[in-house]
């Protein structure tokens, strides 16, 4: 769609030029030259002056973390995220790509997945617990297996979390479907502007889940959850299976200590991931889980829930000193609560904070909520 068309469709034309977006933007705070408001101003103007091509060369469209913090506050209800996403799509078409992080390993891996070859990424699952090939529940594992390899040296264990998730489900008497054929959800491609690849992956996954006869798909990763819940229907219409986030799923079942959790004496703080919080509206489930663990005290950071800030990088692109600064600011904020542990609900947030901490002397542990839950269950 033409930029001009997007400006109308995504309400960008209603921008009051008030600056509340830029004032809220975590990037603008560390990278003063970046301003959502001014970027919109430039895009509108160049579209008006028939210089769309030029506007698609705009560097800043890639600097945005798409964290939706501005979206929450825009008095004109401008659909900024949708605008950026669509503009990136156009930019990608004319070859204006973003700077990938980790020299594009993850992107390449994703690319590779589209080749028909079978993968073997269920070994961990067979060790960790009971799974099956067909059934009611599909457990969508996502990129955890690759991340486990890519970030091994950081000492994070995404697969560990995946295992815990499976164990907990088993504990609930659910033996979910986990499949080798499963492909990346396409989240990163979508936000990198590579929509064709995204569609390819999505079509594949939808087909697979249908094939397994699953009615419910459980996600541990906020990005996968959001992508399925919001963006698959956008391109493929209503899905005929239910999209469930793991934390929503279990938070209903933890009443009166159903998991007989053993005490964990510690003070923790919780970081709302953009995709899970602002974009999927899941704020309370993770808190409910934390609260259910005996002895664990939750101290909120000043910027929580709607006001939470991004972990500094999204979809493996544009990782820079600015990202680091955003991460350190957030970690300091976490430290200020007096907590000794920073709990995240997203494998990527987990990785980014751990990475940031590895090069700092701040005493703070970063843990994945599923992991925390599992250890309280002694599994």
């Amino acid at each position: 769609m033409s930029i001009q068309g997007l400006i109308k469709k995504t309400r960008v034309s209603l921008c009051q030029d008030c600056g509340i977006c830029t004032g809220s933007c975590p990037v603008s705070r560390v990278l003063p030259s970046f301003s959502p408001r001014q970027m919109i101003g430039r895009l509108i103007l160049s579209a008006d002056l028939d210089m769309e091509e030029e506007s698609l060369r705009e560097e800043d469209i890639w600097s945005c973390l798409t964290c939706a913090r501005c979206l929450e506050r825009c008095p004109s209800k401008v659909e900024y995220l949708e605008f950026v996403r669509a503009v990136r799509e156009e930019a990608f078409r004319i070859g204006n790509k973003t700077r990938y992080a980790h020299d594009g390993i993850t992107q390449t891996l994703v690319q590779m997945q589209t080749a028909g070859m079978p993968q073997s990424k269920t070994a961990w699952a067979r060790e960790a617990g009971r799974i099956q090939d067909e059934g009611e529940y599909f457990l969508f594992v996502g990129c955890l297996p690759y991340l486990d390899v890519v970030f091994r040296e950081l000492g994070v264990s995404p697969l560990g979390s995946a295992g815990s998730m499976l164990k907990i489900l088993n504990r609930l008497g659910i033996d979910p479907v986990v499949r080798n054929e499963e492909r990346c959800c396409g989240h990163d491609m979508l936000w990198n502007g590579n929509v064709d690849l995204f569609k390819e992956l999505a079509a594949f996954n939808i087909e697979l889940i249908k094939r397994c006869g699953c009615k419910k798909v459980i996600f541990g990763c906020p990005e996968g959850y959001l992508t399925f819940k919001t963006y698959y229907p956008l391109y493929f219409g209503e899905l005929d299976f239910e999209i469930i986030h793991f934390y929503d799923f279990i938070s209903d079942k933890i009443t009166n200590n159903a998991f007989n959790l053993s005490p964990v004496e510690s003070t923790v703080t919780y970081h709302d991931p953009c995709r899970l919080g602002r974009m999927a509206g899941i704020y309370e489930a993770p808190r409910k889980i934390i609260a259910s663990i005996p002895g664990m005290k939750l101290k909120e950071m000043e910027r929580n829930r709607e006001s939470s800030v991004c972990c500094g990088v999204s979809c493996w692109a544009n990782c820079s000193s600015y990202s680091k600064q955003i991460q350190m600011d957030r970690i300091k904020e976490a430290k200020a609560t007096g907590a000794d542990t920073l709990i995240t609900a997203c494998p990527k947030c987990n990785i980014h904070f751990t990475c940031a901490l590895s090069s700092s002397d701040i005493e703070m542990e970063v843990k994945d909520l599923t992991h925390v839950m599992a250890s309280a269950m002694n599994i």
């Binding site: 209603l14 921008c15 030029d17 970027m39 101003g41 430039r42 103007l45 008006d48």
Partner: protein, 553 residues
């Protein structure tokens, strides 16, 4: 006055509010001993029915001719006690009140002796003053049930019709050949979305067929004398001169959009004003595909440092009509601050944005530059100067006062402000009145206003006028200054100092103060070097008496 002074003093306990601190009995004894005091008595609550009837009884029994009440503040209770005096058959102004509650018992609770002494002093001062009180009569003056409305724009016509609808006669004078004012040239009115011409024709027709309204076009106001209820007006119409007597005057002389000579290459063809645009819109002769509007053209600049209130909305309104006519028109509005105040205006602004009108902010230090076919403007987001295509440039110029504003203000003796807009009596609470009684104000003559606002003010001015018109006579309490001619040395001091321009030199060459106009501040009394000005309400004698009584003799 040579009749014997007989003063009655009434002291209020006000429950324990006063009695709790002051020894009322003692005060009564003290008061009794004061010169001219015939009786002094206490009441639990002087303001209660029992209290006021006690006063009336005492007046009768002791045939008092002065009453002093020592109680709370006169600001709330004086009217009540004056009324009691009246009922008791003595002039309400032969009454004096002493505040021994707010000014004594309540503020000196911990120092009863001093409070007691002070209360005594205050009563002594009041009694001394009472000796010099003089009866003050209220006088009446007839009201001419007729209104002069100056100006026949939407405001003037609305006022005239509103008054006629309430049954009052109106004389409407218009200096132009036709009635209708600014609206005659406009296209449509937002948000009503009616053609200005319709609105105007409708009103003009109504005025023409209304028997209560006499209208004169090409009429020039020449002289106004007199005061509220009783003005004599002279105006000329071509070669004939007319005089009439009216009770009130409504100023609805309007304003006019600035002609931006020498601004932004204004040429009236490719660079035009909003009003010129509206004429084009009426005729629908616009081909321009890209239009740039420039706000604050000649406003909010050192030589004209005010915001003309309506230009932003005029621009937005016209943007929407332009979009109706030319679907694919590119419209840029270059502005400093968009004045879309309230509900409807903000909604229209949103509508314009939805319609694709682009708003670009400029700062006064980097104003737009109009070159042929395009407009150069510093674009803050771009961080550089850019060129906007412009087949047509429209300048939003402010409403300015008419040239004759000054002469009218002189004729009516009402003030205008620095920008030559008429100056109301009070910016907050009397927006439609002049300090000078009997003259009212509405529409652009007051300050730029939308049609809706002007209509509102016009109805309001009519209402203010009706207050005078709905009485055959106006009463005025004589708490006013009056010149004793034989003493006047015609030094013009009073004329200089009066905040309301009331005093004037009469045909006998002496200063004269029209009681109907005097506001009773007493400024002239204090300044008159010949002590020729009398002020019965608070006379020098009274003040001196109070001063002399400051110390117990």
């Amino acid at each position: 006055m040579n009749t014997e002074l007989r003063i009655g003093v009434f002291i209020c306990h006000c429950g324990i509010n006063i009695a709790g601190v002051l020894d009322i009995k003692g005060l009564c004894e003290y008061a009794k001993a004061l010169p001219n005091v015939v009786t002094a008595q206490a009441n639990l609550f002087t303001c209660a029915e029992t209290g006021t009837s006690a006063i009336k009884k005492a007046v009768k029994d002791n045939n008092l001719n002065r009453v002093v009440v020592a109680a709370c503040t006169p600001r709330t209770h004086e009217p009540l006690f004056r009324a009691s005096c009246k009922e008791a058959g003595i002039n309400p102004f032969l009454f004096e009140m002493v505040n021994i509650r707010e000014h004594c018992s309540w503020v000196h609770r911990h120092n009863k002796d001093a409070a007691q002494a002070k209360a005594g002093d205050l009563i002594r001062m009041a009694v001394a003053k009472a000796a010099f009180l003089e009866p003050i009569e209220t006088f009446k003056s007839k009201v001419e049930p007729l209104t002069l409305v100056i100006g026949s724009g939407i405001a003037g016509m609305t006022s005239a019709l509103a008054l006629a609808d309430q049954g009052f006669e109106v004389i409407l004078i218009e200096k132009e050949e036709n009635m209708g004012g600014l609206l005659r040239h406009l296209h449509k009115i937002a948000p009503a979305n009616v053609a200005a011409s319709e609105l105007i024709e409708e009103k003009i027709a109504a005025i023409k067929k209304n028997k209560r309204i006499k209208y004169f076009t090409s009429a020039i106001l020449e002289e106004v004398t007199g005061y509220v209820g009783n003005f004599s007006v002279r105006f000329s119409c071509g070669n004939d001169s007319y005089t009439c007597k009216v009770g009130v005057i409504i100023v609805a002389t309007g304003g006019i959009p600035l002609r931006p000579e020498g601004l932004f290459n204004y040429d009236g063809k490719n660079v035009i004003t909003q009003s010129e645009l509206e004429i084009k819109l009426k005729k629908r002769d616009i081909e321009a595909k890209s239009i740039v509007m420039i706000q604050c053209a000649g406003a909010r600049i050192p030589e004209r440092n005010y915001c003309s209130r309506i230009c932003c909305m005029v621009a937005i309104k016209n943007c929407l009509y332009l979009k109706d006519i030319i679907k694919d028109a590119k419209i840029f509005v270059l502005f400093r601050d968009i004045q879309a105040y309230g509900v409807e205006n903000e909604a229209l602004l949103l509508k314009a944005r939805e319609a694709g009108v682009r708003f670009i902010r400029y700062r006064p230090d980097t104003p737009p530059v109009v070159e042929n076919g395009k407009v150069k403007i510093y674009h803050p987001a771009m961080g550089k100067e850019i060129f906007l295509p412009a087949d047509l440039v429209v300048l939003s110029t402010p409403i300015v006062a008419h040239d004759d504003a000054e002469s009218i203000s002189r004729i009516l003796k009402v003030p205008i402000n620095g920008n030559k807009f008429f100056l109301e009596a009070h910016a907050k609470l009397s927006p439609l009145d002049f300090a000078f009684n009997g003259i009212y104000l509405c529409g652009n003559a007051r300050y730029p206003a939308t049609v809706r606002e002007a209509t509102c003010q016009a109805l309001g001015a009519a209402s203010r006028a009706c207050i005078t018109l709905s009485h055959d006579t106006i009463e005025r309490v004589g708490t006013v200054a009056s010149v004793q001619e034989e003493l006047c040395s015609t030094c013009f001091t009073c004329i200089k100092v009066c905040p309301y321009n009331v005093p004037y030199i009469n045909e006998r060459g002496r200063a004269e103060i029209e009681p109907m106009q005097c506001q009773g501040c007493g400024i002239c009394v204090a300044e008159c070097p010949a002590e020729a000005i009398e002020f019965k309400y608070i006379s020098d004698k009274q003040i001196m008496a109070a001063c002399e009584a400051l110390l117990a003799s």
